[in-house]
Symmetry: C2
Subunit: 346 residues, 2 copies
């Protein structure tokens, strides 16, 4: 293979200094028009392909890219509807700022750390639930701006979270207003260690995932206020997959026929719950009210359409990107939620 044509070669051939040749490409207004044109012409003749990206990066220190990390589960980034909305928002802001989007990919945590160390980016965005994490430390070691989404980590440059507590409270209050009295909570995974199924008090007390902790707190607060004892609530921890929650709910409803209100921590789980309830012979919303969390588009098409707590995940991603790229005003934002009433509670 022929040796790559360098800027220096172009400069020599055009009879100008390397500095001028560089400016002809990067800062055209610093070079006299005719000189610049000659340089570009010579460049074309020699087959120069434009400034070498890596060399420029090394010199300028700018990568022109934002790193996006999903430590908990990487396949999840392109599967979960909420994660996808998040990515859409990140992409939107990156496009606005003319910065590329580097998705850190890995099959396991160890690989992820290597991937992080090899990524030429200017800042990191990390979406995760747990806050104790080798991956987070690896990012922090790079000493670049880091914005955390959905969790608050000490030392992060910024944080974007939801007011999960208030949202959950709203959800539970809504079910109470609809007349439900016997509740089941379908929780997202609460800890690093998987432990799906009924959730005992001990595990409820040791929730390391911020989102789960807050939402659980919000549910409990509203229910308590309505005079419902926490011990009377059925807690189940579900994988964030409709098929999984469907199974769980079907079983659960057979064991606890009295349940008339289901609080699901995600719409994906809630959609499965609708299926499970149908399989267990319940009529929704007559026998049983179900409310999800997130307000994803799929919730419009379920049978019946799913009530939920709407969050703006696109904006969440966009905002986080904006922060990471250093254009945001504050370094910590809490987004609000709103109640979305549809057929599953009406």
């Amino acid at each position: 293979m022929a040796k790559r044509v360098r800027l220096l070669d172009v400069a020599k051939a055009a009879g100008v200094s390397q500095g001028t040749a560089s400016n002809a490409f990067g800062k055209p207004d610093l070079v006299r028009k005719e000189v610049r044109e000659r340089i570009l012409e010579v460049a074309k003749e020699l087959g120069y392909r434009g400034p070498h990206v890596m060399a420029r990066m090394l010199r300028t220190g700018k990568a022109g890219a934002l790193g996006v990390v999903f430590p908990d589960n990487l396949e999840y980034a392109f599967s979960d509807p909420v994660a996808i909305e998040l990515l859409r928002g990140v992409g939107r802001e990156c496009a606005r700022q003319a910065v590329n989007m580097m998705i850190i990919s890995a099959e396991n945590p160890e690989q992820a750390i290597t991937a992080i160390n090899n990524a030429a980016v200017d800042a990191f965005l990390v979406h995760c639930y747990s806050d104790d994490n080798d991956i987070i430390s690896a990012i922090q070691r790079r000493n670049q701006p880091l914005v955390c989404i959905d969790t608050d980590i000490a030392g992060a440059a910024g944080t974007v979270v939801l007011d999960d507590f208030a949202g959950a409270q709203m959800a539970a209050q809504h079910l109470i207003d609809c007349g439900a009295r016997k509740f089941a909570i379908l929780s997202l995974q609460a800890n690093k260690a998987e432990n799906f199924g009924p959730m005992n008090a001990k595990r409820r007390g040791a929730v390391s995932h911020r989102v789960v902790r807050e939402r659980l707190g919000g549910y409990h607060a509203a229910l308590k206020k309505a005079g419902i004892a926490i011990e009377d609530i059925v807690h189940i921890e579900c994988e964030n997959m409709s098929s999984h929650s469907a199974e769980m709910v079907e079983t659960m409803l057979r064991d606890h026929p009295e349940i008339d209100g289901i609080l699901a921590m995600s719409d994906v789980i809630a959609i499965g719950a609708l299926d499970g309830a149908r399989a267990a012979g319940r009529k929704i919303p007559d026998d049983l009210k179900v409310i999800g969390f997130d307000g994803i588009a799929e919730g419009e098409r379920t049978d019946p359409p799913l009530s939920s707590i709407r969050q703006d995940s696109v904006e969440k991603g966009r905002l986080a990107a904006e922060m990471a790229l250093g254009e945001a005003e504050s370094d910590s934002r809490v987004l609000e939620t709103s109640l979305l009433v549809r057929g599953s509670t009406r």
Copy 2:
């Protein structure tokens, strides 16, 4: 800000050559254990953050990333279910090969070209419909492996496409088998220039998007064989959005009450068609059969569930990534489709 600690600083402090220090990090087995440990220790003391990514890239010429470009519409990449599956596949392969995934982001074609020129990647993957494209040229100018998905472009290192013709043929044949005789085809955008609505013969003759050309050809072939004249088919070009196709279909069904079979070039369009047909008072599948294309998961939950031509978009993305990263056997692959019969044609 204190000056960054360089490898050279570490080497000096540890009393070894820079080469040895480099090896201590990059090729540990070339350095005696005690020496390596001392180097690492000194590095930690000095606050050395590990080899500088950009410097390494410049020297080695490897970026450790795969560029992914969506020239037609960038927001689309995180909106369309099929594009997302594609990304999932790409992500899977990238993870397997320990390579990051650089999503080229831009708001307009001009910006996209800059973004491409600024991206430190080892290869490119491009998903697009049209084959004449400034963006493609920009990528080709970089002289790196380029794999095209869903279109075949001269000079690409590889191509991954679907047997769209056969799939479309299968779809049309299925509707014929179900007894439909009066057809409407809901096409994806056929050309760079947007022109949604009824599609005249002239526009049908000048389809620049390969996918549309092939699928249209497949539909026509099957219908012709069944003795249906092309002129009797209603052609409508839709935006790939359910809400848009719903409107189009509702209007279309009022103008053409005889239609009893709808061939949609995507499931997204088909799902809108179900809504539009319902709004126009049709019963599916009794009055009207509808079949989509792609076989996306959402099709299971529509009312009625959507028949479709299934394609494995995840595998399409994975395979393309594999090719681009240079591990695939061949440089051109055509994937097969299969018929997915559900409620909308039964």
